[in-house]
């Protein structure tokens, strides 16, 4: 064993490696991405790793490997589980031979997702057991337990993480390579009565998994991860807290004896902080039930926890899973304990928990005066919405389509990736965004019901491979009228630059033939497929104008590498930033107003308005007229020299700065 400071996702990866994982597949998605990347980085000999084209394929691959007796893991974010739902639901019925862990990272908030769906609910729906760690250390242990559990019960097992567990860091003890688990892969044994899902087998296996899950509620009651934190409580009301009813002759009962808290996942860490804080002041604290396997729910453990309690407050994020399970247990065993949480309006129904939300809720529940800080009266703070990077080729692509289609009735369907940020002002080029690949379906549908609208679907290169191709086939075959814009920046940018089939490299480090987007589109039957560099503005606009008027389904591929890729960064370093010639700049602000590049700023001037020759704003609150330069300037620290601004400047005031600074 040795100590390492690991991100939760790294801990999951190192735990899987310690469990002897043989195959890891996945599709990138925040907050899950680093799991697979870490496995690839520390890949032991004989372990296979790939970024699959999408979550469905990844799930099927993990299932296949486990059929053969290998240990497999598949990684994705919660939205990805929807894509992989089909194989997962069936794998639940068919089962596995080798251990199979389905790592899904949920995103309370949401911070970088379209929904706040809860994989614990999905676990109950799919009848697949779920482990729910609270910290990186626990995730490291649980993933290893999950493999053993999966093999023992021959079922895939979820390891459910959330953003703060996945992206939290902790110094933890990890195994050395000579401590890793070793196992033999038996290989796939043909047996059509086991591996071929027919209605009769499905019916039989449905009975089996229901029976298994019923016994697992007992088995998991003994799992140490499902734990009751309790202590000797004095019968009297804690002296450290002033009674709420000072005039009452008898002091109220000690709330710690009759009220307790149930929690799971990352909220456990908030509950423990509050529990210790109360203990510091009162010398004792509340009973706490930590649920680490929300499905199958550890009923017997729950019964022990509920003994003697009048009320339980459930603290969890996303769905009220623990709250529902405890309410069910109370009903099933005829307990009078009142279960409070999201369903009763005692906890927020959506969004992330926080130290403050949890502390306030628990202290309120226990009738302990909440030591609230006086809120500070902060000055107005700048709002910082995320923006496309300076030099991002997506900006040029959106701007080219915008200029080409000016004055026409258009629909711009966006998709999932950095380019969703094309919705921001001043570009304002994303009318819809739903889920991976959905823009193509929406665009072709509107072309059928609103024939006078020019419908565009924008899709990134990784999203194109992951989920757009069947929709292109659909559009072509069913005679849609639409323009497909592929924003090909040669990487999966949003999640941190993962390779995909168009990049020519794999996670095993091989250099392979790229799969051509042009050839795929031609193969499907598109007659017009044009490839343009979006940073060549005039040509890009001309191409859109021409292609958009053609009949049927046609495509433009805007190809220019993501500016955050090392090669593009190096090239930008050689080009150097652009500069504004203040003599030539007429202060029309066109560059700033039109493209919204973060490197373009307004130059400020201390000179008198007349002297600076650049106009002024009105007097400020103090009545002082300040000169405000309306000339553009470029922040050399951000500018990558993409030159889009220089191409739209009406007086050619922006030019190359000349070399590296």
């Amino acid at each position: 064993m040795h100590q390492e400071f690991l991100m939760g996702n790294e801990a999951i990866a190192m735990g899987a490696i310690a469990a002897g994982v043989d195959l890891v597949c996945g599709y990138p998605g925040t907050p899950s991405t680093e799991v697979l990347e870490t496995v690839a980085k520390h890949r032991p000999q004989g372990t296979y790793v790939e970024w699959s084209v999408n979550e469905k394929t990844a799930m099927e691959m993990a299932g296949g490997a486990a059929y053969a007796g290998a240990r497999s893991m598949v990684t994705m974010k919660q939205m990805g589980l929807n894509v992989a739902a089909d194989p997962l639901m069936c794998l639940s019925y068919i089962g596995v031979k080798g251990g199979m862990v389905v790592l899904v990272a949920d995103d309370p908030g949401p911070i970088s997702s379209q929904t706040e769906q809860d994989t614990r609910t999905f676990a109950a729906f799919s009848k697949v057991p779920v482990f729910d760690p609270s910290t990186p250390r626990e995730a490291y242990e649980m993933v290893q337990e999950a493999f053993v559990f999966s093999e023992k019960y021959q079922t895939p097992v979820f390891l459910r993480s959330t953003t703060r567990v996945s992206h939290g860091y902790e110094s933890i003890e990890v195994k050395d390579p000579d401590e890793y688990a070793i196992h033999e892969i038996e290989g796939f044994i043909k047996d059509s009565s086991r591996w071929v899902i027919f209605p009769r087998l499905a019916n039989m296996n449905h009975r089996k998994i229901e029976a298994r899950n019923a016994t697992l509620t007992d088995t998991l009651s003994d799992y140490p991860g499902n734990r009751i934190y309790r202590e000797e409580i004095s019968p009297a009301y804690p002296a450290a807290f002033p009674s709420n009813q000072p005039d009452e002759p008898t002091s109220p009962p000690n709330p710690f004896t009759v009220r307790a808290v149930a929690t799971g996942g990352f909220s456990f860490t908030y509950c423990m902080e509050t529990r210790e804080r109360i203990r510091r002041e009162a010398g004792e604290s509340f009973r706490l039930f930590k649920v680490s396997t929300p499905f199958p729910f550890p009923e017997k453990k729950a019964l022990k926890f509920l003994e003697g309690l009048d009320e339980v407050l459930c603290i969890e994020e996303l769905d009220p899973v623990i709250e529902r399970a405890l309410t069910y247990v109370c009903g099933k065993y005829g307990l009078k304990t009142k279960i409070l949480g999201k369903l009763t309006g005692d906890m927020p129904s959506a969004g992330e928990n926080s130290r403050e939300i949890v502390q306030q809720a628990i202290e309120g529940f226990l009738e302990i005066p909440y030591s609230n800080q006086e809120p500070l009266d902060l000055p107005p703070l700048p709002v910082r919405p995320p923006v496309l990077c300076a030099g991002c080729p997506h900006r040029a692509s959106f701007y080219a389509v915008k200029k080409a289609m000016q004055g026409k009735k258009t629909l711009y369907c966006g998709d999932i990736g950095c380019y969703t940020l094309g919705n921001a002002m001043p570009l304002d080029m994303v009318d819809t965004c739903l889920c991976m690949g959905a823009g193509l379906g929406i665009a072709q549908a509107i072309s059928h019901v609103e024939p006078d609208t020019s419908c565009f679907a924008f899709v990134g290169d990784s999203t194109f491979f992951a989920s757009a191709i069947p929709s292109v086939v659909n559009a072509v075959y069913n005679q849609a009228e639409m323009t497909l814009i592929v924003l090909d920046n040669s990487t999966t940018a949003m999640t941190g630059h993962q390779p995909h089939p168009g990049t020519g490299q794999t996670m095993m480090g091989e250099i392979v033939s790229k799969i051509s987007i042009e050839k795929i589109l031609h193969g499907i039957g598109l007659k017009t497929v044009e490839t343009v560099d979006p940073l060549d503005h005039a040509r890009a606009v001309e191409t859109v104008r021409r292609v958009a008027t053609e009949k049927g389904v046609k495509a433009i591929i805007f190809r220019s590498p993501c500016i955050a890729l090392p090669a593009a960064r190096a090239a930008a370093g050689k080009t150097g930033p652009m500069v504004v010639d203040p003599e030539k700049c007429i202060g029309c602000k066109r560059c700033i107003r039109e493209i919204g590049c973060p490197a373009l700023v307004l130059a400020t001037s201390d000179k008198e308005p007349d002297e600076a020759g650049i106009g002024q704003n009105g007097p400020d609150e103090a009545g002082v007229v300040k000169a405000v330069s309306i000339k553009a300037a470029i922040d050399p620290a951000q500018c990558t020299g993409c030159s889009l601004c220089s191409q739209i400047c009406p007086v050619k005031a922006i030019g190359k700065g000349g070399g590296h600074v």
Partner: protein
């Protein structure tokens, strides 16, 4: 030793590396560390933070309001944004250089960093404002803002580590060819203070 440290700034400023160096120094001393940070879409020019908790009896990597011993702010407005996390006895080390959001450029109204710095001066008894322009000029690189700020916190005794402990963290975590530059940045504030 027990410390709650928040690092904050705007996506791309290098808060994560600074957080990593402090963690490495703590681990070398055998102290348990937990941290949490912003990853994902907010990194594209949004407000970013790292929470860092060093010491025993820590359950959550997230710091509660009023619990931070130190806020290392890479940007004046971001220091103010996270001020509610600071303890009454806590220290702020802040860069004086603003990063204007794109929205400000569009509407033609930039925010005034002086308002932020004045607010900090009025509300934070233990405040170090680092003139980052002259610091980076002196050190000779605009890429080591994180090490300059770290050095300032170190010199003020707010980090709880020695200069040598941080140097060791740099040696352990950063490629050798950058060591000299990073040492220079780390030592900058100490030297001007003398």
């Amino acid at each position: 030793m027990s410390k709650n440290i928040i690092l904050c700034g705007v996506g791309g400023q290098g808060t994560v590396l600074a957080s990593r160096l402090i963690s490495a120094a703590a681990m070398t001393k055998g102290l348990p560390v937990m941290s949490a940070e912003t990853i994902g879409m907010a990194q594209r020019g949004g407000s970013v933070f790292s929470h860092l908790r060093i010491g025993e009896n820590v359950y959550s990597p997230m710091i509660a309001l009023g619990e931070a011993d130190l806020i290392l702010a890479f940007e004046p407005a971001e220091a103010v944004r996270l001020l509610p996390y600071l303890k009454d006895s806590g220290r702020i080390v802040v860069s004086n250089r603003p990063i204007q959001p794109v929205t400000a450029t569009l509407s033609g109204s930039s925010y005034d960093p002086q308002v932020m710095l004045d607010y900090l001066k009025a509300h934070v008894p233990y405040l170090t404002i680092v003139d980052i322009e002259s610091a980076t000029r002196e050190v000779g690189s605009s890429k080591v803002v994180n090490l300059i700020l770290l050095g300032a916190a170190l010199a003020d005794g707010a980090l709880g580590f020695t200069q040598d402990e941080m140097r060791q963290a740099i040696i352990d975590k950063i490629p050798a060819k950058f060591h000299e530059l990073n040492f220079k940045a780390l030592d900058y504030y100490q030297n001007i203070g003398e």
